[in-house]
């Protein structure tokens, strides 16, 4: 089995996310044993943000790290686990709401592929960047 980052690398549709993880200095943390649950936005999700949004964050790694940490939970949670409670505390500190189980929706994103099991956690692929608030 591969780690979360190796899995994302192999999928080929997370290049923005992987760059962001690198810039924010979160690579070594996400390569650790975890386990983590990662809501991974696809490249199109980042591209859908208004111009400048991603660049401002990339220029400011601590601020970028905060947004990325909102996409990560501590512990390995499968879809079946996540849907047992209405919200989960992210590593950023703010709660991530599980809005619907069918279709599976996390905050205002839809999970396009759930339960990708990795060495150090679980990845759920989402179609939108989620933001605290």
């Amino acid at each position: 089995m591969a780690t979360i980052l190796e899995t994302a690398q192999a999928a080929g549709c997370f290049s923005t996310l992987l760059t962001a993880v690198e810039v924010a200095g979160l690579r070594s943390a996400l390569e650790g044993p975890g386990p983590f649950t990662v809501f991974a936005p696809v490249d199109d999700a980042f591209a859908a943000l208004p111009p400048g949004t991603v660049q401002t964050l990339v220029d400011n790694p601590p601020q970028l790290a905060r947004i990325l940490k909102y996409h990560v939970l501590s512990g390995a949670c499968l879809r079946a686990d996540l849907t047992t409670q209405p919200e989960w505390t992210s590593l950023e500190g703010a709660p991530v709401a599980i809005r619907r189980s069918e279709p599976f929706e996390v905050k205002n994103s839809t999970v396009v592929q759930a339960d990708i099991v990795c060495d150090n956690g679980i990845v759920h692929v989402i179609n939108r960047v989620i933001l605290p608030g």
């Binding site: 401002t56 220029d59 500190g93």
Partner: protein, 436 residues
């Protein structure tokens, strides 16, 4: 032989969700269609763009001086010259405007705006030393900027993590180092600090909010300047275009760091370091809108409030003394309507707004009130941009086809409009062009 043309299906016009029953249903439906709380009329567009321009010029002074106060004046016990930003701060290039900026999003911004510099030199009177302009009060009203900062400091807890950090040990330690460094040659002040440490800490917290507001407005000034330029060039087809420009601007700089650095004898003291991860959207823009547009505080002036008679809400969250609720008529009062800002904007009105005011009501005699109403319209448009940006960030696109999502958007818009159910709200008034 001709190919038979298949009948074109009638486009379905059945809405996916039933109409809102809210008192402001008309406004909610407009927001759901991508519009603003302010009706889309050519005059509204002209009014709001004109006032953005008039607001941007003093704002270019406010943000520079706020940063000067927070970073350089710092704890000066007698800050008589705090409204005299150094040349360095007047020449400070904008972080997000102009080719020199670290991330160019808007135009201009190389240094202070020429119209501002011209006003600082001449004022309403004539060219004279700036101390005389100051004493004659022929200058930019920095007191308005400080009043906004105080509203943010006083209300606190309006989302974001800024206030939590101000209560942390890390902040206390950073402030302590800066206080001791600032007064290292002043044993009297150091003695007072030993006796009343909380008083000094509170003052540093106020300066942290001063930096916060300065960093917030550093972004808004070039946004408003560019909107004026685009309008002058024939851009913006209507009010929604102007609102969308603001929405895109909010997203573009959402991740801008909010921090507080103080420079003492050339050394930088990071009282709130950038590494805390505080952002323009969460720690500055949203608290600003809440504290200044909605809440502020009852003011001393031509209208008085009696707290014992329940005229002031017991809960700070229910305060409604911001521009969105202001009665613009009693000009001259100390708080809202923001008379000091209105007077600042009066100096920089574009000619088309002066012309408009001359044609209505009492012409030039009551243009301070007319521009106050214009400002109210323009701030309803800015608030609409904030509401639409939050909807885009936290909820669903307006053209989403899932009724559940559209209902979530509806609940959000209705909750926002609930804040305008109280009789003081001017949302109803701005729906008509006759409100001047």
């Amino acid at each position: 032989m001709t190919t038979p043309i298949a009948p074109v299906a009638e486009p379905t016009t059945t809405p996916l969700i039933p109409p809102s029953q809210h008192r402001w249903a008309e406004v909610i439906h407009r927001l759901e269609a991508g519009g603003s709380m302010l009706p889309d009329t050519p005059e509204n567009l002209m009014q709001i763009i004109g006032i953005y321009k008039a607001y941007a010029v003093p704002m270019d002074f406010y943000w520079r001086d706020l940063l000067y106060i927070a970073e350089q004046v710092f704890l000066d016990p007698l800050p008589a010259f705090k409204y005299f930003p150094s040349q360095e701060y007047l020449d400070l290039p904008n972080s997000y405007a102009g080719d020199q900026s670290q991330l160019r999003i808007w135009r201009g911004g190389e240094k202070a705006h020429p119209e501002l510099l011209e006003f600082m030199a001449k004022g309403e009177t004539t060219q004279m030393p700036k101390l005389l302009h100051h004493l004659w009060h022929d200058r930019i009203n920095m007191e308005f900027a400080e009043a906004c900062m105080q509203a943010m400091l006083w209300h606190q807890n309006m989302g974001g993590r800024f206030n939590d950090y101000l209560a942390s040990d890390a902040y206390r330690n950073n402030a302590d180092r800066a206080i001791k460094a600032y007064f290292k040659r002043n044993p009297v002040m150091l003695g007072l600090y030993k006796l009343f440490p909380e008083m000094f800490l509170e003052k540093v917290k106020q300066l942290s909010y001063t930096a916060n507001l300065g960093l917030f407005w550093e972004v808004m000034a070039p946004v408003f300047f560019e909107m004026s330029d685009i309008y002058d060039e024939g851009g913006f087809k209507g009010v929604p275009d102007a609102m969308d420009f603001l929405v895109n601007g909010i997203f573009a700089v959402a991740g801008r760091p909010i921090y507080h650095h103080a420079f003492i004898d050339g050394e930088c003291f990071e009282i709130i370091p950038k590494s805390e991860g505080f952002t323009w959207l969460y720690e500055a823009a949203l608290p600003y809108v809440e504290a200044v547009f909605y809440r502020t505080s009852p003011f001393r002036g031509t209208k008085s409030y009696n707290a014992q008679a329940g005229q002031v809400p017991a809960d700070q969250a229910d305060f409604h003394y911001g521009i969105l609720y202001a009665d613009v008529f009693p000009v001259g009062s100390a708080g809202i309507p923001p008379t000091l800002l209105m007077q600042d904007m009066l100096h920089f009105l574009p000619s088309y707004l002066k012309e408009l005011y001359r044609k209505h009501e009492r012409g030039e005699e009551d243009q301070l009130i007319q521009l106050g109403v214009t400002f109210q319209r323009s701030m309803y448009n800015v608030t609409s941009a904030v509401i639409q940006a939050l909807r885009a960030a936290l909820l669903y696109p307006l053209d989403d086809t899932d009724p559940e999502h559209l209902l979530a958007n509806r609940r959000f818009f209705e909750a926002q409009m609930d804040r305008f159910l109280r009789p003081e709200a001017r949302l109803g008034a701005i729906q008509s062009q006759d409100y001047r």
